[in-house]
């Protein structure tokens, strides 16, 4: 009796392996899936005004509290104003620089690792899979510590000594998790291409390399852009991590500036609030754009 209900003609035989171009159900929890843009969704789910109002509120609230103290909130904001060129010019620019280089290295290595994951050679596939899982599931801070403390600060090649600046080491450290996640993005995107495309190009006597580079990757390139941008936004938000290791960026420099100004506690909210504000106005448009692209590309498949 029950069997009769389970078998709906034409609808019961859904399997993952089919050469029909079926629309797969949305999987909110499968990480690495190309449509998995939880971070961007979260970031854009709030109105930009909310964040600005919040920023103003936390900044202005102390005025009421600190009205009587000698170091007024106006003084605090004036101090921020004086330090602004330093905090932005030497600090936030550094965050952006770290994020650019990390993304560059992470993407290049990630694409290679992702292609390794779909290699026909079993050892290559297994090593790529293991590397991906290893760095995808490690805390970023631990990876950063390992790279920062184990990498040499200079390399001797013959008689020349090349010094590696701190921020460069930070770039290497952050590249590892980005590499692993981009690897999953590539693998997921390649697997999202219908098997019919593989069969068609195989039956036209394309080699596997030709199939991947001429047929498969051009088709999933668009699908990779939104998750790639999603990871860029996550990475940018994560760059202040390197301040724990003494690399000069916005948080490190804000703290130095506050110390130079006698560590007034009133300075905390303007300075760190300003840092938050900068990250927000940088990452929010990226997240918006990501979702827009995702929407555009997902319609036309």
């Amino acid at each position: 009796m029950l069997k009769r209900f389970q078998k709906i003609p034409g609808a019961s035989s859904f399997t993952k392996q089919t050469d029909l171009p079926v629309l797969l159900p949305y999987q909110a929890n499968s990480s690495g899936h190309p449509v998995d843009l939880r971070f961007s969704r979260w970031l854009t789910s709030s109105s930009p005004w909310l964040m600005i109002v919040l920023f103003l509120f936390v900044s202005l609230y102390p005025i009421v509290v600190m009205a009587q103290s000698k170091f007024t909130i106006e003084d605090a904001f004036y101090t921020l104003w004086r330090w602004l060129p330093f905090v932005v010019g030497s600090g936030f620019v550094m965050n952006l620089l770290i994020s650019f280089f990390t993304m560059l290295i992470g993407t290049t290595t990630g694409i290679m690792l992702g292609l390794g994951q779909i290699s026909l050679l079993s050892p290559v596939r297994k090593i790529s899979w293991f590397t991906t899982q290893l760095f995808r599931n490690s805390p970023w801070l631990v990876l950063l510590f390992i790279v920062m403390l184990t990498f040499p600060f200079e390399i001797e090649i013959g008689e020349r000594i090349i010094s590696i600046p701190d921020w460069m080491k930070a770039v290497f450290g952050l590249s590892l998790p980005i590499m692993a996640n981009i690897s999953e993005v590539v693998r997921g995107a390649v697997q999202s291409v219908p098997t019919g495309q593989w069969e068609a190009s195989e039956s036209l006597a394309f080699s596997r390399t030709q199939t991947i580079w001429k047929i498969i990757l051009p088709q999933c390139f668009k699908r990779m852009i939104p998750p790639w941008m999603n990871w860029y936004a996550i990475l940018t938000m994560a760059t202040p991590l390197v301040s724990l290791l003494g690399v000069e960026e916005i948080v490190t420099l804000s703290r130095q500036a506050m110390e130079a100004e006698d560590n007034h506690p009133e300075l905390l909210i303007p300075f760190f609030g300003f840092a938050l504000f900068l990250f927000f106005i940088y990452c929010y448009p990226i997240a918006r754009w990501t979702l827009k692209l995702e929407e555009r590309y997902s319609v036309k498949l």
């Binding site: 050469d19 029909l20 171009p21 219908p194 019919g196 495309q197 069969e199 068609a200 190009s201 195989e202 039956s203 036209l204 006597a205 394309f206 080699s207 030709q210 001429k214 047929i215 051009p218 088709q219 036309k300």
Partner: protein, 251 residues
């Protein structure tokens, strides 16, 4: 590579005692047939009878478990088979067209000769233009697959396979996904091909077409060839009860 000792008096495709299983499910249980150059063969049968699997084995999209398939002298069931060499000789058209969506119709046709056969671009372009005319799509050659109807896409797919100058064409239920009114334009294209002497192996549900065009019809059910013969005998004097039942349902 297998030495190519094929001569025109031998069958261009020779299938002998082919067995094929997916896991425990045996879908082909000893299939035999020969196709001579220029012949048109139709394979018909109920769904799940192994027709598509059989045709996909011929260009090694699916491997076989035992038996032998020889195409133009190349043994398909050979671990050292040069699959690319085989597939240069065998064109295949799919039910779902499988055109490359990021390329225009003309580019779809030009890709394989340029990348696989390494022919010059001008040469390939001239050939592709001729093929586009042949499938009557001159005005659509710069359209992307997404802008074409199913029938038009399928004709581009046929032209794409022809661009490789294959000896044998495989058609895997090429009209099954089409609207009834566009089926005809695709069938006419195949008919043209057959009349030019192309060897065609079709898996099809178009009985009228099979009767008119095929030199030989094979009826498969549950992994075996139940009955076969030239269309006249096959459709009028079917002997096997399974064939009779199938034909009574479909005609």
């Amino acid at each position: 590579m297998t030495t190519n000792n094929w001569t025109p008096d031998q069958p261009i495709v020779s299938v002998k005692d082919v067995h094929k299983s997916f896991g425990k499910l045996e879908v082909l249980k000893g299939i035999n047939f020969d196709v001579m150059k220029g012949e048109v063969i139709c394979i018909i049968g109920p769904s799940g009878s192994g027709k598509s699997t059989l045709i996909r084995c011929i260009n090694a999209l699916n491997g076989i478990n035992s038996g032998s398939i020889k195409v133009h002298g190349l043994e398909v069931n050979d671990p050292n088979l040069n699959k690319l060499e085989l597939r240069k000789n065998v064109g295949m058209v799919f039910q779902q067209y499988n055109l490359f969506p990021h390329k225009t119709a003309l580019e779809n046709i030009m890709m394989a000769p340029m990348l696989v056969l390494k022919e010059s671009k001008e040469e390939v372009r001239a050939k592709a233009e001729a093929l586009v005319s042949k499938v009557r799509l001159d005005d659509k050659k710069n359209s992307f697959p997404g802008e074409l109807s199913g029938g038009q896409q399928q004709r581009v797919a046929i032209a794409r396979s022809l661009a490789m100058n294959p000896d044998v064409m495989l058609f895997d239920e090429v009209t099954a996904a089409l609207d009834p009114e566009t089926v005809k334009e695709v069938l006419v294209t195949i008919q043209d091909l057959a009349s030019e002497g192309m060897t065609c192996i079709l898996v099809t549900h178009e009985m009228g077409f099979a009767r008119e065009l095929a030199d030989h019809i094979y009826f498969t059910d549950r992994g075996v060839i139940v009955e076969h013969g030239p269309p006249a005998t096959f459709f009028e004097k079917a002997k096997d009860p399974r064939t009779k039942e199938f034909l009574s349902q479909i005609l």
